[in-house]
């Protein structure tokens, strides 16, 4: 064991490999922060280049890009209301609101620190008990996935703030939007109106960009006088004090565990992890009504969880050859170009390579702190521009981001559509976050329910009497009841 570790350390701690990891993290953060580019694309593009490298260097590069990219999306989410990568979708909720209050530097600081903690936590877990966890993850079947999704959906009730009814309407609208496209169980087209444009469904990234960024631009362009915004002449990332982090230690720990676990589960990745992390942060908070108004907890929840999912997603990949997320599916290609097939045999035959990857990911998460600080500083200069100029720039940024996600013009129309929807929702005081949660989690909820029902011959008890699924569903039900009962008139801060 010790000699494997020593060998792995030797593999990583040489100038070339360290530089490759640093470069990978930096590239990842940049790819993540630019809307329309993300770590999945980045790794796919880099694979041919890793052909010329040694397996250790190549895989270190890919995992570094993966870690960096998962964090990077939060930068543009916080500064411009446009998630740079799908994983940062939930960071928009509180990140941008915080930036609006003039606390962009704090928001960036929380994002980078929590990403780093989440990432490190998952790498340590992955190093210690990978094979064990992968085995447990396999016991999760459709009812458990369904319970997980539905529990996060119940957050809609807690998020209601001023009106449960309005939140519910927004949430159901989101769920409805998630059903557009080809039916996953029967392959019939749904709500496509006979055309080909909507057959691919409604991608949630253009929808989020539309509802948040475009909606905001429309709403703001209405007011004649420019709203005075708190602009600091010099924004750089302001790392939170240790005391401030300690104050939310349970939240961060909870999100790290949730993120790691969801990362391990095949079929769901960092994006779902971020939403569930956010949901649980709201659920266990003493002041759930403050979420969405720009509080650090609303950044810590999703950001810890999505980076924790990176280490998690590597667990089934390395132990079983089953990728835990979209990017890890791409990383398989990085193994294949070297004639390696990730899976149980590789774990047994090449432990040194495995431990080298662990160390590389650990380092990547530490280096992310510095790369994050640098890239965030670069981007935050844009915030010094007046909104009347910045707004249209964000609009262009948003359009590129929506189009780039899958090179489809329909996604631009979806962005415009949701921009108008977001504008009217703002105007009539409907919360947008429940709609996004419905849209993001709708697919998982639907498919796991229908698949599970078909597997259980349409017997609902299969969902309720499985121990894990049952307990999670129970939590969901209790939390709905609790939030409905508690919904007494309260003084709520206006945003």
């Amino acid at each position: 064991m010790l000699d494997i570790w020593l060998g792995a350390i030797q593999n990583i701690f040489n100038l070339t490999t360290l530089l490759i990891i640093w470069g990978g993290v930096l590239l990842g953060v940049i790819l993540g922060s630019v809307p329309g580019l993300n770590s999945t694309m980045g790794t796919a593009l880099l694979i041919p280049f890793t052909f010329a490298m040694s397996p250790v260097n190549g895989l270190a590069l890919l995992s570094a890009v993966y870690c960096g990219g998962t964090y990077g999306g939060s930068i543009s989410a916080i500064l411009f209301n446009v998630p740079g990568a799908p994983e940062a979708s939930a960071t928009v909720f509180d990140g941008y609101e915080m930036a609006k209050k003039g606390k962009a530097a704090h928001a960036l600081g929380y994002a980078v620190i929590c990403s780093c903690i989440g990432g490190l936590f998952s790498v340590v877990i992955m190093t210690l008990i990978s094979p064990l966890l992968a085995g447990v993850a396999l016991t999760f079947s459709q009812p458990e996935y369904f319970a997980l999704a539905i529990t996060a959906l119940t957050l809609i009730a807690s998020l209601g703030g001023k009106g449960l009814k309005k939140a519910a309407i927004a949430g159901v609208f989101g769920l409805l939007m998630a059903t557009v496209g080809i039916d996953p169980m029967t392959s019939d087209p749904r709500f496509t109106f006979g055309g080909k444009a909507l057959i691919g469904g409604i991608n949630f990234i253009p929808a989020i960009i539309g509802a948040f960024a475009v909606g905001e631009i429309l709403a703001r362009s209405e007011s004649k006088t420019e709203k005075k915004e708190v602009f600091l002449s010099k924004i750089s990332t302001k790392l939170p004090r240790i005391k401030e982090i300690l104050k939310m230690k349970w939240l961060v720990l909870r999100s790290a565990i949730i993120g790691t676990w969801i990362g391990i589960l095949p079929g769901v990745g960092a994006t779902t992890a971020a939403f569930v992390g956010y949901a649980e942060a709201v659920r266990w908070s003493k002041h759930p009504e403050k979420f969405g108004t720009g509080i650090p907890e609303g950044i810590a929840g999703p950001e810890t969880a999505n980076n924790a999912a990176t280490g998690g997603a590597m667990v089934p990949l390395l132990t079983l050859g089953i990728p835990g997320s979209a990017t890890t599916a791409v990383i398989i290609g990085g193994f294949l170009v070297h004639g390696l097939q990730p899976g149980p045999m590789l774990f047994m035959n090449q432990p040194k390579l495995m431990y080298s990857i662990f160390i590389a990911m650990f380092l990547a998460n530490v280096l992310m702190l510095f790369a994050g600080l640098g890239v965030a500083k670069l981007f935050s200069n844009f915030r010094r521009i007046r909104y009347s100029i910045l707004g249209p720039c964000i609009f262009i940024f948003a359009s590129i981001g929506s189009y780039g996600i899958r090179n489809d013009v329909t996604d631009l129309w979806i962005m415009f559509f949701f921009g108008v929807v977001g504008y009217f929702m703002k105007k009539y005081n409907y919360p947008i976050a429940p709609m996004i949660i419905g849209l993001v989690l709708g697919n998982l909820t639907e498919i796991s329910l229908r698949r599970g029902m078909r597997m259980a011959d349409y017997n609902l008890s299969a969902f309720l009497f499985r121990p894990i699924a049952g307990v999670i569903l129970l939590i969901a039900i209790v939390s709905i009841l609790y939030s409905v009962i508690r919904k007494k008139p309260k003084v709520i801060e206006e945003d």
Partner: protein, 327 residues
Amino acid sequence: MKRNLITPFFVLTLVTLCFMSFAWSQAPKPKDYPTRAIEVVVQYGAGGGSDIFVRSLMMPARSQLKVPINVTNLTGGAGVKASTYVLSQPADGYTIYNFSPEQLINTIFGRENYKEFAPLCMVQQDQSIFYVRAESPFKTIQDVIKYAKENPGKLQFTGTTAASPDEVIIMLFAKKAGIKVKYIPFDAAPETHAAVLGGHIDILHEEPGVIMSLIEAKKLRPLIAFTEKRLDKFPDVPTGRELGYDITMGRWRGLCVKKGTPQEVINYLADVFKKCSQDPSYKAIEKANLLDLRPGWKGPEEYGKFWEEEYVRYKEIFDELGYLKKK
């Protein structure tokens, strides 16, 4: 007067060059092609089997064609999105498409028309195999059939997406074996592997390349292969044919362009990709994924005929399975 001298000289050089390229390859390089970057559209996500196939074939193609080749993933709608995009581009050979069986299936369901594409070449043919997990009580495929006959409609199969080639082969097998089974589709292949390994679903349909490590670690056991003859890699696994189920199928991968693309461009590209498919860098990836077990190469004409055959075959199967009645 000077100009008059230059023109014949230029023509002569051009003719010589043309002849030289004749000598080098069977298909002549078309004039003015390619002069700019070529886009290759993949209708599936980055990192999947089709994506890896295209990207690994394009690696040697870049040096052959001497222009940049950009691979674009345009996912969604079982490939309809990507097909629509390719058809919206001019038929000039600068947009190449990864043609897959889904395009034929989409045509059957009336979502697109495969006849709008012109075949370039088929490069690979994969092998369909059924597996169970190590702990499964099924030792042979006969055990499976026996169980299914005793418990009609209980046996669960999984594969990737609904109304896919995976479902076709599973349902065809069920029909030939006279059993009733359930098909549980997942959106992505790794989820199907996890569901079978976790014991939630009985039988997995998959091509062996992606799960080789799980097979070698004896976590998955192959039961039956739908190939012409037994695979050298699994000498103990019977073929469907041996057992009286005459099914030989497997996902194939190839390329096409929009119909109307000049024939010389098609021939030239087919020729280039044939060379690329022999390139050591591509061969290595093919071998690592066990894609070299079945002859896969088909030229433009052969590939076109193959489309027709496959189309008829799929249509028959979907008809028999009752998929088209409800439409």
